[in-house]
């Protein structure tokens, strides 16, 4: 009997029968998250309903030396929740209670499976919302947001998940339940945990900051004949000292996909559209709107639309927010890339992506959070043609090289996961990676919490005498070595 089988037999002491999945047909439905390029059928899936259950499962994993991976709604785009065939997949989708709403202190305490949008929906009537808004906000879980430090269109002005989470209860890789708070003196462990992609433990309770719904919101859609005009407008708006809530850009191909999917009715003939959202007090928004309109005209916008109602605003955003999945309408398969460049380097990088399209003979749709230089090139390919996937992968990697060359980063908000771990050495030196590994080992000495993610080669932590029983499975299989 394998170690995993022995562990699975004991799961019945912790969880109901219908919260442990071992049937192979069922297990297969958990074989990937939002990134379908990487697949692995989990050894066993558990659907716990409390922190105590998660802690008990993790303690079993610790005891048997079995790796575990946490998963929320399975919408991640870097394969951060890719299961382990030799491990346990801990799914938090049944932990979706909003435990507390504390309006006077602008806090809400939620379980990790609560969706991002559900928080906003719970407090909207009271004039509040939860600011980070990934495009998948109606389904992505807050636990996953914490793991990936998710952003969204509005993080230009309001910041990422890390700026809106003030406390976390988590299960450590040893199965202890601990609490971290932004008021803790000493090292910012909360900051270290957010964005750690499941490698430091599993969040089981999250305290988020609620933001006041802005008094006024104006959403402007500006259409340009080409992407250059849009780029100039972005630089000019930021250069004028305006910080919009969001500035988003889509190119012709992305617009085509969105039109096909949601009939968003963007201006005909647009080579690029810019969505600019301004929010705040009425007077400020009116003032900024006048400036934005003028700048867009000056930089060559041929049509400017202003949303007159909440429905019209939603229609403008619908095109943008459904863009990734909408690309499924114009291409059998695609890779969602996520890179960052300094805003000023946007035109050069876009020109570089154009050259790559020609070199590789592959189409790339561009959708990006233009305000903070976060690009989402969508590399289109046909997965039924042998070799095209690898070809697209290569093109996609070259886009990241471009980002690094221009002083940017290999990920803005989707995380490193399994997908980009191999690009980490292009950004960081061996010493950098070793230093990160030391942090990881401080939390997870046995390397059982989401192993194989973030770091290019699976490494094990330094000498921890007497804890590990026998040789680690990764060492045994030749996938890893001690350092």
């Amino acid at each position: 009997m394998s170690t995993l089988q022995r562990l699975t037999e004991r799961l019945g002491d912790i969880l109901d029968q219908d919260s442990v999945i071992t049937d192979p047909v069922r297990l297969r439905t958990y074989d990937c998250d939002g990134l379908t390029y990487h697949r692995a059928t989990p050894g066993v899936v558990v659907l716990p309903e409390s922190a105590e259950q998660i802690a008990a499962v993790v303690r079993l994993c610790d005891e048997y030396g079995v790796p575990f991976v946490a998963r929320g709604s399975g919408t991640g785009l870097s394969g951060g929740a890719l299961p382990r065939t030799d491990g346990v997949l801990i799914v938090t989708s049944r932990m979706r209670r909003i435990l507390e709403i504390d309006i006077p202190n602008r806090r809400a305490v939620v379980e990790p499976g609560v969706t991002n949008l559900a928080i906003t929906e719970a407090v909207r009537d009271q004039g509040y919302y939860y600011a980070p808004d990934p495009s998948s906000q109606q389904i992505c879980s807050i636990g996953g947001n914490v793991a990936e430090n998710s952003g969204g269109a509005h993080c230009l002005k309001y910041g990422f998940t890390v700026n809106h989470v003030v406390g976390i209860e988590l299960v450590t890789p040893q199965g202890e339940i601990v609490e971290l708070s932004d008021r803790d003196p000493g090292y910012d462990l909360l900051g270290a945990f957010i964005g750690s992609e499941g490698t430091l433990g599993i969040a089981t309770k999250i305290t988020v900051r609620l933001s006041r719904t802005p008094e006024a919101v104006t959403t402007v859609l500006a259409a340009f004949t080409g992407i250059e005009g849009g780029g100039r407008a972005v630089s000019a708006i930021i250069g004028a000292g305006i910080v919009p809530a969001a500035i988003e850009m889509m190119d012709a191909l992305a617009i085509e996909a969105a039109e096909a999917a949601v009939h968003c009715g963007y201006p005909e003939g647009a080579g690029a559209v810019l969505v600019v959202e301004l929010d705040g007090p009425h007077a400020e928004v009116d003032h900024q709107f006048a400036a934005v309109e003028r700048i867009c005209r000056e930089t060559g916008a041929f049509e400017i639309r202003v949303a007159a109602s909440a429905e019209e605003r939603a229609a403008i955003w619908k095109g943008r927010k459904s863009a990734f999945a909408a690309v499924g309408r114009i291409s059998p398969a695609y890779i969602v890339q996520d890179g960052v460049v300094p805003r000023t380097a946007l035109p050069e990088v876009l020109a570089g992506i154009d050259r790559l399209q020609e070199e590789f003979g592959i189409r790339v749709a561009n959708v990006f959070h233009a305000g903070d230089g976060n690009l989402h090139p969508l590399v289109l390919f046909d997965d039924s043609v042998p070799g095209q996937g690898e070809h697209a992968e290569a093109a996609s990697g070259r886009i990241l090289d471009l980002c690094i060359e221009h002083g940017g980063s290999i990920t803005g908000e989707h995380g490193v996961g399994v997908d980009k771990s191999r690009y980490m050495p292009r950004m960081f030196s061996e010493e950098d990676l070793d230093t990160m590994q030391l942090v990881r080992c401080a939390f997870d000495p046995k390397g059982l919490s989401n192993p194989g993610k973030v770091f290019p080669t699976p490494r094990l932590c330094g000498e921890v005498p007497g804890v590990r029983k026998g040789v680690h499975p990764l060492v045994e299989s030749g996938m890893a070595e001690q350092f």
């Binding site: 049944r94 999945a325 309408r329």
Partner: protein
């Protein structure tokens, strides 16, 4: 299961929050994305296991995921194809088989339904016993509406003003037998709006129940019969007031696609929901005030399968003094879903309770929907909750009351137990 349709799914997960079973159980294999994955496994050679069949059977077919999908996955087509495969390849337990045989031998046949009136009236008292014998029988007894008198509609009703259209009317099976007042109201509204209404007297089942349960051959037979009936009636537009029927009739051409002659005949007929038809025609009849608060429930086969959401609301808002209220989570199914509440009573009950809670929160006087299945399901759930009573009515009945200047008290029925 068409592999090309399966490939359209990019696994983004946008369907999950709209899927009733995912909302209930929070597990991947009971979500549209997960079920498509199961279909993919089958296409790649995995046989239909008991587990697989269970998750596919648990799908309500509400099509909320079709509305939510940004990639345009035709889950509606996929699940229809899949149900047929499950019917062919999966052996159900003897109990399941018996219950399904009974339902499919009963519901599509009006005369057999009529024969059920007396047993139905008695079944309320026998419910505890029926529940013990089989959960489906218990559910049937719980859902049964009060049995109305029989209404016989004339074969043709002439327009009550300058004629603007001639339409056929599908009277339906359950609608005709248990909600004849809805058909009567529909005919009056159409006539008052200037339509000649042709009601073929010997029309049968439209095939919706069979189609949505994977009984392909039976569905095709019913579809052809219905097409022929309306061809003989000499109409090119057929108005339907039951959402489930309307959605499958709109699919006739697809259902009969292997039979070019028949699919062309299906294409030649226009099937429209009553609200859709009235808004397209433009209303002219005078509306009298109806001071009543109404919670409008989106039937899945109207909102998701036919995309008809705005029209019924527009018609209701057009009635002076009517206060229209929205139900929270309107996109989530009530659990009725054709035969679902008979075959999956437990899940249907949980969804019904969830819906009842949100309907009651509107504090409306009247619950309005365009599908008899939904109305029966929600009424039963509200009865179960024991939290007061809400009267229920079909959109047609509300319009009819306004056109005829009836008092709001005349509107809607309440459950048998409450009377």
């Amino acid at each position: 299961m068409d592999p090309e349709l399966i490939k359209d799914c990019v696994h983004c997960g946008f369907c999950l929050p709209t899927c009733p079973t995912y909302v209930l159980w929070g597990e991947e294999m009971d979500s549209p994305r997960g079920r498509i994955q199961l279909m993919d496994q089958h296409v790649h050679g995995t046989p239909v296991t008991d587990e697989m069949a269970g998750h596919l059977d648990a799908c309500l077919g509400c099509m909320a995921c079709v509305t939510a999908c940004p990639s345009g996955v035709r889950y509606d087509r996929l699940i229809e194809q899949t149900r047929a495969v499950v019917e062919r390849e999966h052996t159900r337990t003897p109990d399941e088989r018996a219950v399904r045989a009974m339902v499919f031998a009963l519901f599509p046949y009006r005369r057999r339904l009529r024969a059920m009136r007396l047993p139905m009236a008695m079944s309320k008292r026998l419910r505890p016993l029926l529940e013990r014998v089989n959960p489906t029988l218990g559910a049937m007894a719980e859902l049964a509406p009060p049995v109305p008198g029989h209404v016989r509609l004339p074969p043709v009703v002439r327009a009550r003003r300058r004629r603007r259209a001639t339409v056929g009317l599908l009277t339906g099976c359950v609608q005709a037998e248990f909600f004849p007042q809805v058909n009567a109201a529909t005919v009056r509204v159409l006539a008052l709006e200037g339509c000649d209404v042709v009601i073929p007297p010997r029309q049968g089942c439209c095939g919706a129940l069979s189609l949505h349960s994977g009984r392909e051959a039976e569905a095709k037979r019913f579809a052809k019969r219905t097409i022929a009936t309306f061809e003989r009636a000499g109409v090119d537009t057929v108005v339907v007031n039951a959402a489930g029927c309307g959605s499958s009739m709109k699919d006739y051409a697809e259902v009969l696609k292997d039979d070019p002659g028949w699919s062309a005949r299906a294409e030649a007929l226009r099937f429209l929901d009553l609200a859709e038809f009235l808004v397209e025609l433009g209303t002219v009849a005078e509306r009298h005030p109806l001071p009543i608060s109404v919670a409008y429930h989106d039937a899945c086969h109207l909102a998701h399968a036919q995309g008809v959401r705005a029209q019924p609301r527009e018609l209701l808002r057009g009635i002076p003094e009517l206060d229209l209220r929205e139900i929270a989570e309107s996109a989530i199914c009530c659990g009725s879903a054709g035969t679902y509440n008979l075959f999956q009573p437990q899940a249907a009950r949980e969804l019904g309770d969830r819906k009842a809670e949100r309907v009651l929160a509107t504090h409306a006087d009247l619950l309005v929907s365009a599908n008899p299945g939904c109305t029966m399901q929600i009424a039963a759930a509200i009865r179960r909750a024991g939290k007061g009573e809400i009267r229920v009515a079909h959109t047609a009945e509300v319009l009819d009351a306004s056109l005829r200047g009836l008092s709001p008290q005349a509107l809607g029925w309440v459950s048998e137990d409450a009377r």
